[in-house]
Symmetry: C2
Subunit: 406 residues, 2 copies
């Protein structure tokens, strides 16, 4: 018997009406003879209200209490979804994280799932009862924990892996994974299939469909993911193993990221080997560093450039300035109003010259390439904001992604 | 070391500001060298919103899911109160019903507490950490249960009993137990002490300060209760064992209940012994019958009168009419716009003639006594609504309760 896990995000369960629509979809799945496990997030923006209350109680609310507080959001959703299913004649039972046997490490606010004891889940499934499980939460030694960002997706994938489910469907407010952001590239097309690896690059590059952690977990356990809309019947995008995919596109998609800033630390004497301390200091202060480029300008001296989110620029510079004595650099420069455009594609591995094609496309639209970073299946270029729109459309065209939509 | 349990109701934790005020009070208690356990209800009317959502999901929502849903209300409160305490430098930890070891019977929506495993609680108290426990909820075999009406008070009392606490303080929006409703009797005074038995009669008679279940549990376990306001520093009312009280007032208080209706089932042949079936049928349909009076009018025939809430009259009459063949009565009559006025006092036991004094008081104000019901420490009379106000004030005066306030 086919077993699938369906995960519905906050928007999909945002109102009583939408919860009934979710129940409708689950009921249809069950009635088609499939065993279904449902994982849900907190309703819409209900979590924001709880965070707001917590912040009125104390600065930097205690993480243990924050977990106890936030876990209620999903608990409300599971009870309501279970009721809505029962109203449609589908036997159903809600399960909190601890009831579903989701054991995590002893970290509040960002715990990793360590194991899932599926005894209760198995019993429900064997009795034909649809379990409705709270995403984002687990238990460690009697303490409620939460999984942090992307937590509900991760719960769904972990449950699918533990049950050896046939697939894990992630329902969201978009119809799948696109070749580019349709708001930027009007001819962007929906991908029918994409590999874990490509999806990981796209996820970290700002396509907010799926949290990288969930993709990573799927890849580890070989769980086939499907991203689709909870508002339409469209087919969605399948995310699966590269090896099982027929024919590899060279470039699968174009991702963009705005509000990028570049910081250049110039003239660092090469006898000083303290670069790692700079990036450690940045990481400790929660400054997310993305592209890093190091170049030797003249003998005995290096320049290091890196990108951070525009919001973090001042903080990052302050941290670097604090290390001036240690690093012995000459000066720090910053450049704002930048964007990053990236192409992702598993086919790049076997097709040299892809990066060159991309540079050419950017040159065509007059975009100066400020920084470049590459991986086996990705090429990222930092350019000025003002050229982003034209650049993305040009790159999309050059790699024949426009045609996918026709 | 003195251990006390403090319970704060929904109004006391209704807003962020009020939660901070609760934390202030708990902090002061802890700083005075007392070990404190806090029990809280859901914030203000948050439960109503959840019930409303549930009713949008299905008619008569499944009770198991309703418990999972409603238990979130208290879970929000405990986390916020624990944070507010931490913000004041008081070590504190929230505990859901299951974390606090509150085991109940396997009934959803109205479970009774069976036992409390205080291992975790004891450990927290021994470490000087203030436990903040969710009222109203428990666990049975991995299932979340709720205790139904008056649940949070009952949780507090049960915890106090399990910990052999020195007392259990119930914080509410009134300053204690009064000799009468101050809205009806302006000279009503706050009682400094009252016995469990008197409180039980007052609680069931409509003084909504404490749920009878909590009083009953306190009595069983000899837990000293204190009812006081969370908004003032006033002393409150101590509820304790009759035996420990010095000097017994003959009458402790006057209670009233409005919107009472009387149903009279007339001319039931005495050879028919099916009266119990009538009251069983009413109970099964959730009609709450209060005063019952049976009288023999002529040989071989009885009349039975009983009171119900006005809202239940039509339903009650329909049920009785359905039993006409079985009971063989002559006719049913109803009387609306009635009220019940009751005096309660442990001293009545040893003071005969109290009922007569009450009847005289009611006669003085021209109130016709429709029904009478007595217990060892209570006399209740049903009279017309229009005489209620004058009657209550007269009774209050006659039994010298006016003087308590001076």
């Amino acid at each position: 018997m086919t077993v699938i896990v369906q995960k519905y995000g906050g928007t999909s369960v945002g109102t009583a009406e939408r919860i009934r629509a979710v129940a409708e979809r689950v009921a249809a799945t069950v009635q088609s003879g499939i065993r279904c496990v449902v994982v849900v997030s907190a309703m819409g923006h209900s979590t924001d209200g709880l965070v707001d209350l917590a912040n009125q109680m104390m600065n930097e609310p205690n993480r243990r209490e924050m977990d106890a507080l936030l876990a209620t959001g999903e608990q409300v959703s599971i009870a309501l979804v279970a009721m809505a299913l029962q109203a449609k004649g589908i036997q159903s039972q809600s399960m909190t994280g601890w009831q579903a046997g989701i054991r995590t490490e002893a970290v509040h606010g960002a715990a990793r799932i360590e194991s899932i004891d599926t005894a209760r889940l198995d019993a429900l499934l064997a009795s034909g009862i649809v379990p409705v499980i709270a995403g984002f939460q687990g238990i460690h030694d009697g303490e409620i924990t939460t999984l942090g960002r992307g937590g509900s997706d991760t719960t769904a994938v972990a449950i699918a892996a533990a049950l050896r489910a046939d697939r894990c469907e992630i329902y969201t407010d978009v119809e799948g994974v696109y070749t580019a952001d349709p708001r930027v590239v009007p001819v962007a097309g929906k991908l029918s299939v994409i590999s874990y690896e490509e999806m990981l690059e796209l996820a970290t590059l700002g396509s907010q469909v799926l949290h990288p952690r969930a993709v990573e977990t799927s890849k580890q356990h070989g769980v086939t993911l499907v991203v689709r809309s909870s508002f339409t019947q469209a087919e969605g995008t399948v995310i699966t193993d590269m090896a099982t995919m027929e024919g590899m596109r060279i470039v699968t998609g174009v991702a963009t990221e705005k509000e990028v800033a570049r910081i250049a630390v110039l003239g660092i004497p090469t006898m000083q080997h303290h670069l790692s301390e700079m990036f450690t200091a940045l990481a400790q202060e929660q400054v997310n560093v993305d592209v890093i480029v190091q170049s030797v300008v003249k003998t005995g001296e290096v320049d290091v450039s890196f990108t951070v989110a525009e919001a973090d620029v001042e903080r990052a510079i302050r941290i670097c300035e604090g290390l001036k004595a240690l690093l012995g650099y000459r000066e720090i420069m910053q450049e704002l109003e930048l964007s990053k455009v990236s192409i992702v594609g598993a086919g790049m591995i076997t097709n040299p010259g892809v990066a060159a094609q991309m540079f050419a496309a950017l040159e065509t639209v007059g975009a100066e390439i400020k920084m470049v970073s590459t991986s086996e299946i990705k090429v990222s270029c930092v350019i000025a904001n003002e050229q982003l729109h034209e650049a993305v459309n040009q790159v999309h065209r050059v790699f024949a992604l426009d045609e996918l939509n026709r």
